[in-house]
Structure formats: C-alpha cells, structure tokens
Symmetry: C2
Subunit: 662 residues, 2 copies
C-alpha cells in the first residue's frame, strides 16, 4: 500500500464517489466529490465541526480532543485531519454537510418584525427609476445616395435625434455585427446602452438587436455573502422581481470566515480556486433564476433568455469582492489592512467567467475599506439611510459587525470584530441557522424548565445566533445568570450543573435532542457571547462619540444582515447589544446588500449617489481610537457597567433584585 | 488519378513544397506554400500577370489569350487558371512573385523632389509634443495605520498630487497586478496612461511597472496600404524614429485593389482570412522593427522589448481599416457605399491579434466615407494642411485618387476612381514600381530613339506608373502622339508600328529587355492612361467649383501616396493630370498616411484635431454632382479641351505646331 495508490471513497447519503490518492485529507476527497463539509476553522482540526462517520473501511488520524473516546469508537472522525489510507464509505451527517440545492428565498422569511424596504414605487415617486442599462428602439432612415452615412454613425445620429442621447461609444464586437443587424429588419433596431456613473463620460452602446425588443430588458442583482449568495432576476422595464434564488457560497468548504478564505487564496492556485467557486455559485443561481422565472406576458412574451440579461449588479464585503474579481486579498488580513481597490470600474460579466453574454455589464459595489465593504455601502443605499434627515445607526451583524452612523448630510463608519459567536462559532453547541437550531426560547420562571423553538420544528441539534441572544436575555431576565454572565448556583434545578467550561444550563436532554447528547449553554459560551455583544456596543458608542454625539442622539436604528434580520429587539436591548431606543425607531432591512444591489440595478441615479456616499463617508479604525478599549471593557456586563445607558432594563433589574430570593 | 488524390507541388526558387488535392488551382497551392503570386485581377485569369514556368510535371489549363503559343510551349502557365493534376515543380519568376523579405524603407527613397515633412521639431515648437500614451513615475507614501487607503486609490491620489492627472479609470488585468507591483520597489512605480481624445472623458491607466521606467516608452505608427504596409518604431520621449520597416500587404495575393479584397472577404471565412493576412504583415513588420532598432542609450539602456510598446497608431483606407478590424466591407463596393463605421474607438492591439502586450492601445485613424479613408485623413493631418491659411489641394493618387481641398477654415473631399493605370494595371506592359520597371524616359527628338531608366538599372521588364507618365508626356511633347493620344503615323521610325491594340511604340526590343519580348506602349494603353488622368483632373476641377472656387484659386498642391510621391511634376502638368501651378507651390509628403499616424502617435493634440477635421470635412460624391461627367469628357484630351487652363503647355503646343512637320 503506497501513498501514490488511488482509493475509492464513497459518500453517503449522496452516493457520490471519488478516486483519490492515499495520504490526501478526507475533506479534500469530499470537495473533489462536490460535497460540502462544514469546516469552521478552515481545516485546522480545532473546531471539530467536520465530523463524519465511517460506514466501511478506515482512515488514518481524524481525531483531536474535540472527539470523545465514545464518539471515536462509534466511528466519528474529523474529516479535515483524517487522511485516506484505503477504500472507504463515509456518512456525512446533515449537521456537517450543507443542505444541497440552495436556499430558496432571498430575504429571510422567518422574520418577526416589520420589514423596511425601498421599493420600485419609491423609485418612481422620486423620479429615479432609470436603470443604468436601458434598451431603446430606433427607426432609422435607410441609406441613399444623398445619405450614405456609415452604419455606426447612423445609429449614433438616431440616438441623438430620437432620444437626445449623446456621447456614445461602442466596441469591436458590436461594430462587427452592426451591418447585418441593421439590415435584418430594415433599419429598425433595438440598442442597449450602458450609462456612465458620471454623465460627462461616455455612454456605451453594448448591444444591438434587429426589431423592437425594448419590452425585454432584464437585470440581475446579487449579494455575495461570505456564507450565502443571493440573486434576484429583475424586469428592468417594470422593476418587478421575476425570481429570487439563493445558495451557499461555494467557498464555504474552505472556512466560514473571510480570514480562512484569504489564507486559502494565498496558496498557489488558491485565488483562482476561490474565484471559481464563488462564480460557480453565482452561475448556479443564475441558472435557477432563469428556470424559475415566470415568462413575461404581452406582445413579446416567452421564457427569459440568458442573452436578454443586460446587466448584473453585485455587492459583497471587501474580501468577497476581491475574490470575485481575482484580486489578491492578502493585505486585507494584515495591518494596516490595505485592500487592492475600493472602487471597481464597470466590467464585462464574461470577464469574471460569469455565464452571461459578452455584452452584459457587471457593476460591483465599491467598498470603503478592508472591513467596511460593498455590502454595507449597498445597505446604506438600499435602506435609504443616506437620504434621511434622522441621525441613523445602521448595523450589520455577523462575524464582523459593520456600523454606519449618519444621515443625508454626513456619514461615518467602522468595523468591529465581534467574533463568530453570533453565527454559532465558539459556542459549544453553536450552529448556523439551519434545521434543528434553537431559534427561540422561553423559560418557566417557577420550574426553570425551558421551551425550545427550533427551525423546522425538529429535535434540537444546536443553537443559532438569534436563539443564543434570546437564551442569554431570558436567563438574565430570570436571574438564572447574573450581570457578568455567571450562573446562579443556588437555583433548585437539575438543569444547572457544573461542566468542563464552568457551570452550564441543559437546554435539552440527550433523549430530547437530535444529536444523541445533551444540548447545553455554559459560562464560557456566555462569556464569548458577552464579548461579542460588547465589541459591537463599544463600537457603536465609540463611533457615536467620535463624531461628537451621544447614544441618546440616535433617532433611528436600521438592522441588516443574516443575524440582524432575525434579532429579537427586546433581548438585544436587555443584554446591551443595541442601544435602548423605542421599538418604533428600529427598522429591519433584511439583506441590505441585496437590497442595495437591487436598487442600483434599477436606478442609475442611485448608482451615481453611491460614488457620492463613498466619497463623503468617514471611516474610523476603532483600534486607533484611544477610547475604544475602555468602552469595550465597560460593555463586558449585562447590559453594561453604566446602567443609566439602559434605563428600561435598569428598572426591571432593580425590580427583580427586590423580588429575587435571597 | 482521382481529384481527391494529393500531389506535391514544389516551388522554385524558394524550394517550398506543399501537398494539395488534385483539381485545386495552382495559385491556391502557392498561397498554401506562403508564396505570393501577382494576381492583379484577383484570380479571374484576365490580367495574365500570374505567369509561372513549369519546370517538371504538368498542370491542367493555365492558358488564356494572355499567353502566346510560343510562351505556352516554353512552359509558361497562368497560375490562377491552372489546376493541379499531378506532382509538379514550378518556377515563380521574380516578375510574378513579390520580392520576399519586405521593403526596406518607410518613405520612398527614389524621390526626385523636395519632401515636405512635419517633424518632431514642428511639434515641439507648437507645444503639442505630448503623446496620447505616456509613462509617469510615482513615489508613493507607504501605507500606515493612519493611511491605509487602497492600493488603487493610492495610485490615483498620487497621480492627482504629483501630476494633476485626474479622472483615471483602470481595468481588471491592472487591478490584478497592482498589489505585487506596488510592493516590488517600495511603492515606486511607473504607470502608463492612455489619454482620451476628449479631455472630459476618462484617462485609462493601462500598465504599471515597479521602479522608474519612464525613459522607456515606445510607440508604433503604421500605414496599412492596399499594396504595402509600413511601420515606424518611435521613442515616445524623444520623438525619434528608431526603426522603419515595410512589407507587401499579405492580402495582395487576393487581388491588387480594394474591390478584389472585398469580394474575397464576402466568401465564407474570407473576412477572417483577410484580417489574418494583414495582421500577419503587421506582426512581421513589428518583429523586424524590434530586431532592427538601435537600443536606446542612457541609464535605462538595452534592447527594446515588445512589452515596452505602449501604443500603435494605424491609418489605412476605409476598406483596409474594415478588414483590419474584421468589419464586413460588403457595402463599401455597393451603392450607396455605406461603410460600417468611420470612427473607431480606442482598441486593445491584442484584440486585433496584433502581437503586442495586452495593455498596448491601438488607435485607428477615422475615415470620412467609403472612398475617403483614414489614410487621407492622416495625410491631411500629417501634411499640416488643416493648419494652413493657403487654399490647398491634397491629392493621393493610386488606383483611387482621393482629393481634399481646403485650409484651416474649411475642408472638402472627394474620391475618384482612376482605375489601375497608375499602378501598372490595364497597361500591356504595366507593372508595379519594382526592379526592372521603366521609371524614367527620354527621347532623342531627331531619331525618336528612347532612353529608358529602370529601377535597379536592370534590363527593362515593364513600365511603372511614374514611368508611364513621363513616357506619355514625352511622346506628346515630341509630337509622337497627338492631343487625343494617337500615334503620328507619319514618323520615320521602326519604333512605331501597328499592333493588336492600335499603333504602338517599342520602348525596348526583345534583345534589350529582361522578359524575352518587346516592351511596348500602345494606343489602348495611352487611352487607359488618359482616362485615368481625366478622372483625377475632372475630380479636382469639380470639387474646386463645387465649393465656389476656380482652379486658379489654388495656392498650394500637396502630393501624397505611392504614385504621388514619384510623380514628375512637369509631365503631370503637361498631360493635364494636375492643374498648372508654379513648381514651388507643390509639396511632396510621401506616405501621408504614415506621416499622419506618426504625428498623432506623438501628439494627443493632433489626435484631438483629427476628430475636429473629420467633423468639419464636407464629403462630396462626385457621381452625384451633375457637372462631373462633362468635366470628365472635357478632360479626355492632352492636356485638356480647354487649353486656357494650361497656359504654359498651351504655349509650347502652339510653338510645336508651328515648328512641326506637316
């Protein structure tokens, strides 16, 4: 048995099989088979989330202290540190794998609060519903001895005469097809124009079709998230959403956070691989958007064809944007955190290997800095924050929290690293918001018995970010944990017990759980959670103060992002994640990044505003603000060391302390 | 012997061999072997210029009335109508093949008159020596915690701070290499900027190199002629010409004039083939320019590398420009003669398959119409005609003659089809200006014996255009032919004799010639020549009158083009090809097209002026001017029916008639 030998690895339940050299890691075999295995730590063997079960055969290694002896004996292995040593059959548990087939909706559907959304009506009312890429119909005079102007000049003159469109430029591929196209329907043609951001520069004539096809002009809006990719198919005439689709970002098997992706991109071929993976996800979504879209009605009806897509707008964080463009992200993770670029010129989608026709324009949202990306800029645009008079706080909470404060007159932003707690990282039974995750929770104050609500109403398998927030707030409100997050050891319940990581509370016994073990939350988990919320609150407070305001000056809070969209507001204020404001001052925008892409795909005016917003947004590096560290330490308490910042919670706290048992 | 069988055809003197199917034409076999055979008529079998000699084996056919029985017996065959029927060895005579290895100079060297040329000194004096593509050196601050601007933004800010360069845009390939390049020499970089024609639009950042390479910035200027292609390698810092090279246009084996080329381009794959052939010629010349250029001296010395070429400017007639770009030229030859485009956006040279690095910009001269092309616009620019106060006539004479009249305030142009007489076409012993061509001629007035001066001082093999002009003028001045071009049958010389095409004059007897036959000029030749000169003179007169002037208002004549550069001025006025003006009012610019490319390669200001010139140039379709036909008929006389237009020639004519024998 030499390492050079090839072995067959069979994966269950998918039934896929690959042949791979001995000595390669099992996770690499899974990738080769197109199977995603959750590897939060990027394959370093420390998160223990990539566990699989040996059904037949054996692998070498595959065990760290993340696996108990019992689990190891039961056949569990950590795929990222297991190496191939023979033919084998491996079961990938649902909890490790990603549900294949994509996410079905672009905006979270299990949302509890009212959703604010810009929509096409807003654009119409503002008179700015004019997409960056439009189709215009021209009926041109046929050439004669007295008018033998060139074909291209005839079109340009027609655009000027009929639509007052000037400063047109075109390209070689269009010039190569102009002659035949003009003559196919007797000089009646539809031209596609891509407008510039700056009205002084040129408008690009990007396509020409015989006859009148103005009724069929379609666009795409994409959010390229670190975890998920979402896309909308839009009718650029009506502004209507014709289809929405989502899927996990194909880069996910190389780690859950941007740092793991950057590290991989630094490997030989790594950047090309990362680029390919995200484009594969985009292409998969485009295929499904085209399949699922209802064909438009009217004179020019019928299924939407790929070459009827004129433009695609994409927004993502700075790392995602770099990887999509194939730009080296290396310095994003190294002080002083210098990205390659923040602005992106209009590109050809095909140059990014996006499976769209040669003429399709790709418009990428600009970033502000390495950690305030195009997704946040898009959120600022899509939420309308940059057009309001109110002093607004925009927060997008994920592994990193990005904060923007300002209004129509000024804007300031900062990023703070909250750590992965809100996405289930660093939490013993933390997990992403997937089937079986505890997403809501309540407590019987008398018995201290829990009620878990899980996604899909399944047996609980873990805790997702929004569940964690509610659990901590509820435990706190019921005096089960104190202001520093420690369990009240005097409570008469079996649910609280000492554990390896301080005391813990059993959310679900082994028998009730979907994992064949107790689901718990322990003091280390709570501590991690408090650090995460403290980082965000301290970031908000520091940024507010650095611009000369106080928390009380905030007139509006906009919540965005995967976590921000699911957040329970009372809980968030109770534990001091968000400043305490009246509930009616809080707006949820859901996927702000997608919303912004969508809006600027429909409005060149908004696209022009983006440039303006990026130029006047002041970016602060929190680590460079002397006060930030103190703010952070002061926030490592539920809700905060300065209770006067949370008057309502403070009142309840006082009442509780009076009524609490000694 | 079936037609499907393959036969070996061996070509002498090159020694090349091809295998080709039976039934294919011999000229196709030659093309497949990479051997050019002169085929003026485009392969129709009517010009008889593609003659080759069978050395071994035989072909089928290959004979029209262009070959005498004697020639046929000697092994002569017409390659375009001969088909392969077995293995064969074929000698391609020098007179049929094109001298391989290219033409050695960019501007004709056998020029008789003073040459007018714009030069770098003119540009410097006018303060417009600023090339469209420049290199600038940036010393940028290194990033720090307090200045962590993106790499691309840092460059853009540096350009603004150090050079006041604004409105910069770049592309994906540059963004992909920016990070590494900046750090290779500690944020000291050289950027290459391509300036826009219109200062309001964007400047493109097309390349970035580590360190200071501003001293090495090179450009190319090309004339893409129907017959020949010429190129210059320029130092964009000093403006110096570092090398000049020329070669025949590789399309030549598909016919000598633009119409043959268009016809071929209309065949399946024909356009791609034509594009490929001209690009092959360009690439061949670039190779030789790089090989032959003297390496620059100074700090940054060494051989010029291909990737140091920042830009290439090309000018050609409308058909050549279409074929180079791969645009369908079909309508150029069909009324109402509509080209695909007259303006050409800046292109990437690599997109035309020109073997230059990806960043090299290709700037193509715009045309005016189907028959007034970029070569003429370039000539107007290069000659400085558009900047003069004098009413100027610019004439480029070839198969088509293009005429421009005007000055700094106004410009009008027209094309007239002169036919191929000036390039040796339609003339029994006509040939291109190549070795053995009679290019000058004189006559002993007493004996009527000729003295032929040939190119290369070889035995005469034919008559080139400039020779023809002198011959006709000399025969006319000596009363050997009359005003209608007919021979004086009373003259006592053996040199004049009846022939198949009217009377003829024997320029060289078989024994003195290099072709083993008499070289003659006959009445049909002279008639063809008179028609050609009449078309041009009528064109000039019509255009002058259509703008409200008279011939006498012309203050300056600029002669350009292959024929225009060699023209004997006295002869041209004697026979009524050009208006009679004082010799010091005539300027020769040589290859006006190359000159214009060269000038705008060195001056973005001139490139901007081009747009202006094209917009204000009024183009006239002579066939649409009612007077033109009458003008033409009136010009079918030596020098003209209205002798008052040629007072000097008129005087000599009267004197001669008085002294002439009855």
């Amino acid at each position: 048995m030499t390492k050079e030998q090839l072995y067959k690895i069979h994966f269950l339940p998918s039934g896929r099989e690959v042949e791979i050299k001995g000595g390669e890691s099992l996770i690499k075999a899974a990738r080769a088979a197109g199977i995603h295995i959750n590897a939060s730590c990027g394959g370093a063997g420390v998160c223990g989330k990539c566990r699989v079960i040996m059904a037949e055969g054996e692998v070498a290694g595959g065990r760290s202290d993340k696996l108990t002896e019992e689990e190891y004996q039961a056949g569990y292995r950590q795929a990222c540190i297991a190496t191939i040593s023979g033919h084998a059959t491996v079961t990938v548990p649902e909890i490790s794998g990603l549900k294949k087939g994509g996410l079905s909706t672009a905006v979270p559907i299990r949302h509890r609060a009212s959703m604010h959304r810009f929509d096409i009506q807003d654009l119409r009312e503002a008179g700015i519903f004019v997409p960056p890429v439009v189709k215009l119909f021209l009926e041109l005079p046929t050439p004669s001895n007295l008018d033998n102007m060139a074909d291209a000049g005839r079109i340009i003159l027609g655009l000027s005469n009929q639509y007052d469109e000037r400063r047109i430029i075109t390209s070689l591929p269009i010039l190569r097809k102009i002659r035949k196209t003009l003559r196919e329907d007797n000089f009646r043609v539809t031209v596609t124009l891509a407008r510039p951001v700056n009205s002084k520069t040129k408008t690009h004539l990007i396509n020409i079709q015989p006859g009148n096809w103005t009724a069929r002009n379609f666009g795409l809006a994409f959010d390229i998230g670190t975890t998920t990719v979402y896309g909308l198919l839009l009718d650029l005439n009506s502004g209507k959403v014709l289809a929405r689709q989502g899927d996990y970002n194909g880069q996910l098997s190389y780690g859950e956070d941007v740092i793991s992706r950057i590290i991989h991109a630094e490997q030989p071929e790594g950047l090309a691989q990362m680029q390919e993976l995200v484009v594969k996800s985009i292409n998969f979504i485009i295929d499904r958007l085209l399949e699922s879209a209802k064909p438009p009605e009217g004179k020019k009806k019928g299924k939407i064809k790929r070459d009827e897509i004129s433009s695609i707008t994409l927004a993502g964080n700075t790392t995602m944007t770099h990887l999509l463009m194939g730009l080296e992200p290396d310095n994003i993770r190294r002080a002083p955190y210098v990205p390659v670029t923040t602005f992106v010129p209009p590109l050809r989608a095909a140059d990014l290997n996006i499976k769209l026709p040669d003429h399709t324009v790709a418009l990428l949202y600009p970033s502000i800095s390495s950690y305030v990306g195009g997704d946040i800029v898009a959120g600022v645009m899509g939420s309308g924050m940059y057009r309001t008079d109110k002093v607004t706080l925009y927060v997008d909470i994920g592994t990193n929290a990005e904060i923007v404060i300002g209004n129509r007159d000024w804007l300031a932003c900062a990023a703070c690293s909250a750590g992965p707690a809100f996405e289930g990282g660093g939490i013993t039974h933390g997990m992403r918001a997937a089937d079986g995750a505890i997403e809501d929770f309540s407590l019987n104050p008398a018995t201290l018995e829990p009620m878990n609500i899980t996604i899909g109403n399944l047996q609980p398998v873990g805790i997702c970010g929004s569940g964690l927030l509610v659990i901590v707030a509820t435990l706190f409100e019921n005096n089960v944990i104190d202001q520093s997050g420690k369990f009240n050891r005097q409570l008469a319940t079996q649910r609280i017990r000492p554990g390896r990581s301080g005391h813990e509370y059993v959310l679900a016994w082994k028998a009730e759980s979907g994992t064949n073990s107790d689901i718990v939350i322990n003091e280390v988990d709570i501590d991690n959670f408090i650090r995460a919320k403290a980082a965000i609150y301290a970031g908000v407070k520091t940024l507010v103060e650095v611009v000369g305001l106080a928390i009380g000056d905030l007139e509006q809070i906009i919540l965005a992002g995967a976590f921000g969209s699911y957040i329970d507001l009372d809980s968030a204020m109770t534990i001091g994640l968000l400043p305490e404001v009246a509930a009616d001052k809080v707006l949820y925008v859901g996927n702000g990044s997608l919303l912004g892409s969508w809006m600027s795909e429909l409005s060149n005016h908004i696209r022009q505003d983006v440039v303006d917003v990026v130029h006047r947004m002041t970016s602060f590096e929190l680590s460079e603000v002397p006060d930030f560290k103190d703010q952070y330490i002061a926030s490592l308490f539920l809700p905060h060391t300065d209770i006067s910042l949370f008057p309502e919670t403070g009142k309840r706290l006082v009442a509780r302390q009076i009524s609490a048992p000694p």
